[in-house]
């Protein structure tokens, strides 16, 4: 995508550059919520998926995609939502993870996987090891599993004493 020559952008390029309204340093493609862009005789069909059921940014994302594509000369734009398969943080791209870290938000580790049986219960502190995105200290502690947006948790670094946000694995 970064190699695209200006003025020769496809609909997929345009859509991929639209940014997330809550984390504007990330594109929809970085986040993995842009699932497909198809140029059809009836117009451009963009398929997106929500991160969380209650994500309040979905409508803005739809509007932003439509505006960006119309601005690039695509007259007819349809934005579809798919719910399945459900979004997972594993879809955040390598570039997206780097941008998160630069912004002081620690990127997610591997999403939890389950072999079968009931969803496991976590009673103690999560065993996950998360490094500090500011000073690089290898181990930090979770303050809360919920933060300013649905997708982030709040942590603190014992070395630099700074709190920071972490994209929690789902």
């Amino acid at each position: 995508m970064s190699a695209t020559v200006a003025g020769a952008r496809t609909a997929a390029d345009v859509a991929a550059r639209v940014t997330d309204p809550e984390m504007p340093f990330l594109t929809l493609a970085d986040l993995g919520i842009l699932r497909e862009v198809a140029e059809t005789p009836d117009g451009v069909v963009v398929t997106i998926t929500p991160t969380y059921s209650g994500c309040p940014a979905m409508r803005t994302i739809r509007d932003d995609l439509t505006a960006a594509l119309r601005g690039a000369g695509y007259g007819r734009v349809l934005v579809r939502t798919v719910l399945s398969p459900a979004w997972t943080t594993d879809w955040i791209t390598a570039a997206g993870r780097e941008k998160l870290a630069v912004a002081g938000i620690s990127p997610p580790g591997d999403a939890p996987r389950r072999a079968g049986g009931p969803v496991p219960l976590t009673l103690g502190r999560p065993a996950r090891v998360v490094a500090c995105p500011r000073c690089g200290h290898p181990e930090t502690e979770e303050i809360a599993a919920f933060s300013a947006t649905a997708c982030r948790s709040l942590r603190r670094c014992p070395a630099c004493r700074e709190p920071f946000e972490h994209v929690k694995e789902i």
């Binding site: 969380y52 059921s53 940014a57 509007d63 719910l83 009931p118 009673l123 809360a144 649905a150």
Partner: protein, 358 residues
């Protein structure tokens, strides 16, 4: 959309861009492929979506009432996030109900324009929390039950329900962990916090039996491969509940003797015997209208927490509760007094200014 608001005008401009978001009521299923599975009755599928959606909506509303009143900023964020997840689930389920019902209603019509007797949420979701311990006890019960339900619903023959469930499982896993960790922290804390946490879990127990009683609509949809029989979640629920309460050094269920002494609502006739009588009266099941069922409720002298439930709660461990209150619970539109208070707040603006925009 028929529920345009002031911001709708902004978004309908040529560039479709907005300066704020979260202000409109866009269809959350926009563009989702929505066929109805073979063998599923449309009206029943819609009713089932409303049951699961109402659970989420009313629980979300109760959680929202806590925002600005919680003990720590982190808990404000947690409860607000959990409420938002549940509201999102409710919207998806209402949108699905609207689609399969095909009667021109939308998510707002379901939330704001239905009467109390048309809501299908279980009574656990309505309960006002006396303190933070009651909140986390109730949230633990709700999230444990809903997670077990949604996890099974991922195999539904209805593709939209399966997809909504798959997303919901990821969310509710965090909700359950949050509640469970607080129950352990308070239960296994100081003498005072232990005592108050125990009182809170004891208070929730009478509301649990209802969670596992299937409605006839659910059972028919189970046969069509669409729904989950709530009774099937009982084993997982009991296991998680027992593990969390054991880690919290709490007894899982109030001692049987305390049921008769239970405060307020539980009259002498509302013990286990009363519960069984109600079961024999299960013919009221068919009466979907709130009228006759409400009569039964009143006849048993069930107050806000349900005198009937108080008796059943004591027997939960012994398996006495199953089926005993069929026909008299939230799934049939029979609610506690708390529901009127919730709807007054939830629906007040929509009802006083019908179709209003600002």
């Amino acid at each position: 959309m028929s529920f345009d608001d002031a911001y709708e005008a902004l978004t309908d401009h040529a560039d479709d861009s907005r300066w704020a978001y979260g202000t409109g009521f866009a269809d959350p299923l926009a563009g989702v492929d929505t066929a109805v599975p073979d063998g599923a009755d449309r009206a029943e599928l819609a009713a089932y979506c409303l049951m699961l959606g109402d659970d989420a909506l009313i629980m979300s509303h109760r959680l929202q009432q806590w925002v600005t009143r919680l003990p720590e900023l982190e808990d404000e964020l947690a409860i607000a996030n959990i409420a938002l997840d549940l509201l999102g689930q409710a919207r998806l389920l209402f949108a699905r109900a609207a689609e399969v019902e095909g009667a021109g209603r939308d998510e707002d019509a379901y939330a704001f324009l239905r009467a109390e007797g048309e809501f299908r949420n279980v009574r656990l979701t309505e309960r006002a929390d006396a303190d933070f311990a009651h909140l986390v006890a109730r949230l633990l019960a709700f999230a444990t039950w809903r997670l077990a339900l949604l996890d099974r619903l991922t195999a539904s023959a209805d593709p939209v329900l399966a997809a909504v469930a798959a997303k919901g499982v990821k969310e509710v896993t965090y909700h359950r962990d949050y509640a469970a960790q607080w129950v352990v922290r308070l239960g296994d804390g100081t003498g005072l916090s232990h005592e108050r946490m125990q009182a809170a879990t004891d208070a929730v127990t009478p509301l649990l039996a209802e969670l596992f009683v299937p409605h006839e609509t659910e059972l028919r949809l189970v046969r069509a491969g669409v729904a989950v029989d709530p009774a099937a979640t009982r084993e997982e629920f009991d296991d998680v509940w027992a593990r969390v309460l054991a880690a919290a050094t709490l007894r899982p269920f109030p001692p049987a003797a305390s049921a008769g002494e239970a405060p307020a609502e539980a009259g002498p006739e509302a013990g286990p015997a009363g519960g069984l009588e109600a079961g024999a009266d299960g013919g009221l099941d068919g009466g979907l209208g709130a009228g006759p069922a409400r009569g039964l409720d009143g006849g048993l002298g069930a107050g806000p927490a349900g005198g009937l439930g108080a008796g059943l709660g004591a027997g939960l461990g012994a398996g006495l509760g199953a089926g005993a209150d069929a026909g008299a619970g939230g799934r049939h539109g029979v609610h506690t007094a708390a529901m009127a208070e919730i709807l007054a707040e939830l629906q007040g603006v929509a009802r006083s200014v019908p179709g209003g925009v600002w």
